[in-house]
Symmetry: none
Amino acid sequence: MRILVIEDETKVGCFIKRALDEESYAVDLCEDGAKGLQMALNTNYDLLIVDLMLPSLSGLEILKGVRQARIQTPILILTAQSQVDQRVKGLDAGADDYLTKPFAIDELLARIRALLRRGSTESPGVLQIDDLALNPATREVTRGGQRIELTLKEYALLEYLMRHTGRVLTRPMISEHVWNQDFDTFTNVIDVYVNYLRNKIDRGRSKKLIHTIRGSGYMLKAD
Amino acid sequence: MRILVIEDETKVGCFIKRALDEESYAVDLCEDGAKGLQMALNTNYDLLIVDLMLPSLSGLEILKGVRQARIQTPILILTAQSQVDQRVKGLDAGADDYLTKPFAIDELLARIRALLRRGSTESPGVLQIDDLALNPATREVTRGGQRIELTLKEYALLEYLMRHTGRVLTRPMISEHVWNQDFDTFTNVIDVYVNYLRNKIDRGRSKKLIHTIRGSGYMLKAD
DNA sequence: GTCTTCAATGACTAGAATGCGCATAGTTGT
DNA sequence: ACAACTATGCGCATTCTAGTCATTGAAGAC
C-alpha cells in the first residue's frame, strides 16, 4: 500500500512517516504543495495525507486539483484545532476524512485502515470470504480453519481475487495486477494458476468459491 | 436520501433530526439499540448515524451486526470526547467516519455530504428498467429480484439495449456495438439473439420489455 | 368499407461449427 | 526439488447458419 504525505512541518512529517514505515506501508514524504500535487497526479497512490496549511499551494487547492483529475484516491486532511470552517470546506472539496493536530498516532493509523479498507470492500486486516481467510500480514491462508500452503504466484492471485470479491475479473485485469505486464493472448498461465488454486481451495468442498464467467473471466464469490 | 439515527439522548437525537429534516433528508430516529439494529437490517438506508454509548445494545454491536449482514451502508458514529479507543475500535469494526460530541451541526452536515457522495460514486453502474436490473460490475442480471443467467453475447446485447432504453435500435447499430463489425444483411444472428433474450427475460411475464419496431429494429421500453 | 391475397418481415428451431476453458504433461529456470 | 510457465488435446457451452413457420400490413377485388 502506497501513501503520499504532504506536510511542510518537517517534525510532523517525519513522525508520520516513521509510524507508517513501521506498519510497512510504502511512504513518500513531500514538504512542498506544488510538488506534492504533481506527485499525486503522476503516481498511483492508495492514500493521500495532506496538511491544509502549506506554503506554496494550499491543501485545498491540492484537493481540488486531484479531484479535478478524476482521481478517486482517498484523501485525509490534517488541520489545526481552530480551523473548523477549513475542514468543512475540505470535506466538501472531496476529502474523505480529516484529523486535527495534535493527534494520537493510533488514531491516525485507525483512520488510515478505515480509508484503505473502504477502497476495496474487505474486512479489516484479514480478508475473509465464507470460511476462506487470508491474512496479508502473515501471508497465511486458511479454509475452514485448515491451513493452506500457496506459492508466491498462487498467493498473489488469491489476494487479488479476494480484494475484489463478487466482481468479474477479466484476464487482462488479472494479468496487470498479478503479473504486472500487458496481457499476452497466447498464454494460458492465468488459467493454469486458477486451476492450481481450485485444487487447493475448492477441490473436495461442496461450496465452490472460484467461479468462471465464460467469455469474461473469473469471480470469487460465496454463493 | 434516507438516514437512520440511533441515539438515546432525546435532546441530541431531536437536534440532529431537526437539522437533517431542514436539509430535506428522510430521517428515522430510534432511541433503542436493539430496535435500531432491526431497523437498519430491514430498511434500506443510505446512511446510519449511531451513538456508541447506548443502553440496550452498544453501538459497536450494532456496527458488527450490520456489517455481518453484508450491508455496506456508510456508518457515522458519535462518541464522547474522551472515548478515543472506542472510536478506534469503531473504525476498525467497519464504521466509515466518526464525530465527537459536542459537534457543530455544520460539521455533521459536511460529513454526511461526504459520505453520501462517496456511496454514489462507488456504484455508478446498475442499469434498471422496470423490475429488470443489470449490474455491469458483477455482470449480474435480475428481473423481479430473480437471477437470470446470460451468455456473453446475450449479456452484451442486453447491456446495449439497456443503455439506450426507449430508443429504436436498428440492426446495423446493434451489429456495430455488440458484434463490432459491419452489418451483413445475409445473417439473422441478431434476430436469433433477441429471441434468446426474450425467452429469458420476457417469456411468461405480463409486462414485455423487448419490443420489435417492424421495418426498423428493436427497442427496450417499460411500457 | 371489408375481405382476400400475398409478399415482406420477423419468430422460432435444430443442428453444425467454433472456440473457450480445463486438465495434464512437458519444459525451463532457480 | 520446486515454482513458473508452455504446449496440447479434449469436451462442451456458446455462437451461428440455415431453414421453416408465423405475423404483419398494403394492394386489389368486390
